[in-house]
Subunit: 93 residues, 2 copies
Amino acid sequence: MYKVNEYFDGKVASISHNSADGKATVGVMAAGEYEFGTSSVEIMTIIAGEMKIKLSGETEWTTYKKFDSFRVEKDTSFQVSVTHDTPYLCLYL
Amino acid sequence: MYKVNEYFDGKVASISHNSADGKATVGVMAAGEYEFGTSSVEIMTIIAGEMKIKLSGETEWTTYKKFDSFRVEKDTSFQVSVTHDTPYLCLYL
């Protein structure tokens, strides 16, 4: 089954579950800027709108759009900037 | 911002929000069969795995896979069958 989680004082909500592709969360980030840490490899997919992302160690922001995915290595972090409520999928490897 | 909702005795959870594409929910259906009613046109998109769908008035089930979308007209209903926890996006028109 699934579990509902909230982060950043309720500005990010996610539903963790076991999808056909494996352990995942689907969620929404309210407009704003965030930094997430990873404890496993993560594959993030944008579900609507777009996300600006800066992986740790990078100096440039990269924009990802609907159905684009990006990979974040284990034990690192990434910054996110979104201008709208933005739904996403995070798959844990 | 968003709002977390639960249906079918907690077997379906969703997060309603205002994405760049408009009013939407992103959610997860636990494995099982469901029937949803609509009060506006809905565009459903599968985010992982697959969904078997039967629109009201149809006799056949249709299988939709990852990133496939289907349209449900206003004031109708549709049946869903999923074998895994299945994340989806619902866009309201």
